[in-house]
Symmetry: C2
């Protein structure tokens, strides 16, 4: 069986071997730059592992897997313009290093390049893979739009939030797994179970991200602790807290959200304290685990020998129990 | 044979029948808005006419043709952000009516939607159509990048300019024709000839556009006359003028290009006068006609009955002799 580090090595090698034209330099250099910044390569690794559940030869899944990683990086590139983010993976974002126009256009080119790679599948599987990829790509756009919409809204419900992160995060993980499965020769039921595995794992993964933003170890978590609290981001934690708080606690929480220039550490401590009083840590962990268990059930129901599932199960476990 | 107005009616009907989800509204409403603004629908019309050269049933080309029009409108949407253009087809541009973020994201969704439509071809033709479409889409990005690069450069040569407009404008026309031809069942040679027809017609078309910006009739040309002159755009006319002008005329031309806040009509008149003295009108018409003749040769060499070519030939003629 292909191990996770072997899958990562294959992906990293193939990404570093990608050749883009030298000219126009301001179109292709940002693409090279973004792909060099690395990342966990979770989506392409999932595609290879899913393929390997059903086929020993994972080579046919490599090009589409690269396409999924390019697509993911394209979404980060455009999201960073929209969010006015200056840093990504410890380096300047493209729109900051170059300018918005360069980031828009090189992002557009990356999306096309993603399609080029995803399309490198045998003719009999091309329609299924393409349809799934296009539907997923549109859903990711929908998720990003809801995310921006929610910033402007006063109240967001928990189901709305879960639906947003399903679109913005989970569907691309699920799509990566399902594309790998299709290429590996999985039947419709198994491909669909892997999709469900991906959705639930993705939701679990994002809730863990919300959790780590407040309760993570600053030395291990890539971002600053409390970033979501500082910008009043309507995360699972904040929405849950507003849902279950009594009137007095809710007023206190809302007071911290309206102070114009709060002392950062003071605000983070105060809001974290409220979360602690409301036991939000526990609420979040329960929900994270609930989605994670659903993911494991989907994996269990998969019609392939259990020992083939071990790598995927362990990788999922590592992702959910991560500290960064 | 399918007539141009019939092809336009089919395209317009199908575009107005397109259904996008109601929500998220800020993602899908801009797409509906842009597609409602109309336009000449040149690319999808070409795809249908090219298909009809080889097949009586053009229905299999309609969905891909719609995809080509959606892709074209996506490029306009993102170009308008980059060019900070406020108006398009007599209406506010998307980034002006909504905001940059909405324009970026709904453009991204349009590109995906374009792929969805272009992919609606039979399995045996899907690879050829997709490969051509992706290559073309990337080339259009390259063209837009060169166009922006040229704004920052002091000198652009004529071959560089022609290459830029080939990428930015001609390849998508050529791709539309070739996709129509492939779907209609053309062999490799004929599909390639139609591509050449499209490239040369596209170059001719763009030079005509440069020409009309200076010599067009304000009542017929959609944009203000002299717009390119006012923003010192390095068009075929300006590059040719700088190439053939004597030192004194060149200095005069460059003087007008460096005045910070010139009186618009004064600058337009002065530069047009220089063009007239240099006979740039004639230089441009000769070059336009040269590409147009090359297009006609490609069409002539096509291996199909001459009477089938009439509609396409007449349409090309109408486009090149247009006044708007």
């Amino acid at each position: 069986m292909l191990q996770v580090n072997e899958a990562q090595d294959i992906i990293n090698k193939r990404i570093s071997d990608l050749c883009y034209p030298a000219s126009p330099e301001r179109l292709y250099e940002p693409i090279r730059y973004v792909l060099r910044l690395g990342g966990k390569r979770i989506r392409p690794v999932f595609a290879l592992l899913a393929c390997n559940l059903f086929a020993d030869d994972i080579e046919p899944a490599v090009e589409p897997a690269i396409g999924l990683e390019i697509f993911h990086n394209f979404t980060l590139l455009h999201d960073d313009i929209m969010d006015k983010a200056n840093m990504r993976r410890g380096h300047s974002t493209v729109h900051k290093k170059w300018c918005d126009n360069v980031a828009i256009l090189s992002g557009d080119a990356m999306q096309i390049d993603a399609y080029r790679h995803v399309s490198q599948v045998s003719q009999d599987k091309l329609k299924a893979v393409l349809n799934l990829f296009s539907q997923t790509a549109l859903e990711v756009c929908e998720g990003q739009q809801y995310d921006m919409d929610f910033e402007l809204r006063e109240k967001v419900t928990l189901p709305e939030y879960i639906e947003m992160i399903r679109l913005k995060t989970a569907v691309l993980l699920a799509c990566s797994l399902k594309i790998g499965a299709i290429i590996g020769g999985a039947d419709v039921r198994d491909a669909s179970l892997l999709y469900d595995f991906g959705i639930n794992l993705g939701l679990s993964f994002q809730l863990q991200d919300d959790f780590l933003d407040v309760y993570g170890d600053i030395n291990k978590f890539g971002k600053n602790i409390g970033g979501d609290i500082m910008c009043n981001k309507k995360t699972f934690l904040l929405i849950s807290a507003l849902n279950i708080a009594d009137t007095q606690t809710k007023t206190e929480l809302e007071k911290w959200m309206t102070i114009v220039h709060p002392n950062p550490q003071e605000k983070i401590n105060a809001v974290t304290n409220i979360y602690n009083r409301l036991n939000i840590r526990r609420v979040c962990q329960t929900e994270t685990d609930c989605f994670y268990q659903k993911a494991l059930v989907a994996l269990r129901d998969l019609n392939c020998p259990d020992q083939r599932k071990t790598v995927l199960r362990n990788y999922a476990n590592r992702l959910i129990n991560r500290e960064s």
